[in-house]
């Protein structure tokens, strides 16, 4: 028998059904892998051994009666911003110290209803603000990938760095993640995993710690395209508890795999050829174009003229919404409290001690752009630019384009504690240059591994689709995956 943690969700699902092994055996294999690897990788901030064993035992009982759900007995990791009843939920912030919600998020409730097993909570950038997982109160996550012949630790990307690292290192069969500006797709690209941010409104945001409400969306990170399709099917739902949850049935995404791309029109946006982009990324992009053309797709050059304004507009809209959402952390209802001489002093000291530097910066930017006299110049203007960004995509889709192919990131994974990135926050923000447009327009986007660079590090491509057309993304990403193959890091931990 192969190592149990090596199996994809699809493989484990079949073998559990065939009773080749039990859900408890599978869960124990993952718990042992986590206990061995986590002191090094730091992907988990809480491991729920007892809960996992109880859930797996219940799964075995259902499997024995052939009553297993779509994810019966599949061990998953959960990003720390999903409310999980009675379990560590802090969005990796100090300010939520000790928070144990009395309720369950809709996304995780959907997964448990389908029989999935919770292994624990995954590390992330604090409040999902970051592109390297270095802003976590619980310290950085190490990327399971290293450059050939090097011992230097690399970041797994962010904000869903724990999710991506845990999936790549086989510390869970799949993971939940979330994406506000690229937080699923960038870490997926940095770790050779598949990540999809579905259309805004496809997954309920109820029970997710809010960062920027008009941009946040849940999605999975998985080992391959099929597993991502299986997970999204379970995570997505129509939910009366989220007024932005869209009233559309959830399709069987897995059924879209194997669908031909023959005759499909794939757009290549010229604005994504950014200055200073490494030649390797350019080559990878061309390789993706060739694969899709060989599979019968028609390749068309397109223009998305407002692309370069997406990131500046994002850094108004996202901090503005964050400053409002994070106003709730004041030391009164949950988490940390620092004593003060009066109530305002208590608020100020609590927030000074509880938030990390990057979160403080974004709250400050958001407060500033929303403050009296600046609203029109910043926030209103950014929302107008957002309309233009969305219109760019609408025009392209109206002209018959089915999906858009771009690089996922402007580089491969970089080093932990990179000095250049630490000195200027804007340099770190540029990581999301290819992904953030998708959030601004509310569209679905998938990152799929497409190759390794000269140093042996994974690189990903991104496909962008029409609203609620995740099926085309899965079908097209599957074609790329078939051509590119799958990528796993050599174990060093």
């Amino acid at each position: 028998m192969t190592e149990l943690t090596a199996l994809t969700i699809a493989e484990a699902r079949e073998q559990l059904k065939a009773k080749a092994f039990t859900a408890v055996e599978l869960t124990e294999a993952y718990l042992a892998a986590i206990d061995q690897a986590n002191p090094v990788i730091n992907a988990y901030v809480a491991v729920t051994h007892d809960r996992a064993r109880q859930m797996a035992t219940a799964s075995d009982a259902r499997l024995a009666k052939n009553e297993g759900g779509a994810l019966e007995g599949i061990p998953l990791g959960i990003k720390d911003l999903y409310a999980t009843e009675g379990v560590h939920t802090q969005a990796c912030s100090h300010i939520l110290d000790g928070f144990r919600p009395r309720y369950e998020s809709t996304v995780t409730a959907n997964l448990w209803a389908d029989g999935a097993v919770m292994l624990g909570k995954l590390n992330m950038d604090e409040f999902a603000m970051g592109s390297s997982n270095e802003t976590s109160f619980y310290g950085p996550v190490k990327n399971p990938w290293r450059a050939t012949g090097s011992n230097a630790d690399l970041v797994p990307g962010g904000s869903s760095g724990g999710s991506a690292a845990a999936v790549a290192a086989w510390l869970c069969a799949g993971a939940t993640a979330s994406d506000t500006g690229g937080s699923i797709r960038q870490p997926a690209a940095f770790t050779g995993t598949v990540g999809i941010k579905p259309t805004y409104g496809r997954c309920s945001r109820w029970g997710m710690v809010a960062f920027a409400s008009s941009l946040d969306q849940a999605g999975p990170i998985a080992r391959d395209v099929r597993d991502a399709a299986i997970l999204l099917k379970s995570m997505a739902s129509v939910d009366a508890k989220d007024t932005t949850s869209v009233d559309l049935p959830v399709p069987d995404y897995e059924a879209a795999l194997g669908r031909s791309v023959r005759g499909m029109k794939i757009g290549i946006p010229k604005e994504y050829r950014v200055e200073g982009m490494p030649e390797e990324i350019e080559k990878l992009w061309q390789q993706g174009i060739d694969w899709l053309r060989e599979a019968g797709a028609e390749i068309v050059e397109i223009t998305l003229p407002h692309t370069k304004y997406a990131l500046p507009a994002y850094y108004i809209v996202a901090p503005a919404e964050a400053s409002s959402n994070l106003a709730r952390y004041d030391g009164v209802r949950y988490g940390l409290r620092e004593q003060g001489k009066d109530i305002v002093d208590m608020y100020e000291r609590t927030r000074a001690a509880g938030f990390g530097d990057e979160v403080k910066r974004r709250i400050m930017v958001g407060t500033y752009v929303l403050s009296a006299g600046y609203y029109d110049a910043y926030y209103l203007k950014a929302q107008k630019v957002r309309t233009l960004i969305k219109k760019d995509f609408e025009d392209v889709f109206a002209a018959g384009v089915d999906a858009i192919l771009t690089p996922a990131t402007p580089s491969a994974a970089f080093g932990i504690a990179d000095q250049e990135l630490a000195s200027d926050p804007v340099k770190m923000y540029l990581n999301d240059v290819f992904t953030v447009t998708v959030n601004m327009a509310g569209l679905p986007g998938i990152a799929v591994p497409a190759g390794l660079d000269a140093k042996g590090l994974p690189l990903g491509l991104q496909l962008i689709g029409k609203p609620f057309d995740e099926e085309t993304l899965f079908a097209t990403a599957h074609v790329i995956e078939q051509a590119a193959g799958r990528f796993s890091p050599a174990k060093w931990w």
Binding site: L215, D247, P312, K341, E348, R361, M364, Y368, L388, V426
Partner: protein, 95 residues
């Protein structure tokens, strides 16, 4: 536009974040770097453009105005740093 030390102090107060003099000077540089970056938007002509108010065009969901949940006071205060009889306790606000 760029911010000076006094503006940063004022914004920190509005955001209810205590800052030291040292914090203020570090923050001023970083905030100006971010504000300089977002100023690229000045190049865009937005005359006649409506601001985005809904990411996905959809009608606001409505439901009948009725009590559907409740009776959970103990759950609601369960995570609070200080409580008494299902109330949140805070430092004295009114003398």
């Amino acid at each position: 536009m760029s911010v000076d030390l006094d503006t940063v102090k004022r914004v920190a107060r509005l955001a209810r974040i205590a800052v030291t003099e040292e914090d203020v000077s570090a923050l001023t540089g970083k905030l100006n770097s971010i504000l300089g970056f977002v100023e690229h938007l000045d190049e865009v002509d937005v005359s006649g453009v409506e601001p985005m108010t809904s990411v996905i065009p959809m009608e606001m969901k409505k439901r009948i105005d009725e009590v559907t949940d409740g009776g959970k006071a103990a759950d609601i205060v369960a995570n609070a740093p200080a409580t008494e009889d299902n109330f949140f306790l805070v430092p004295k606000v009114v003398e």
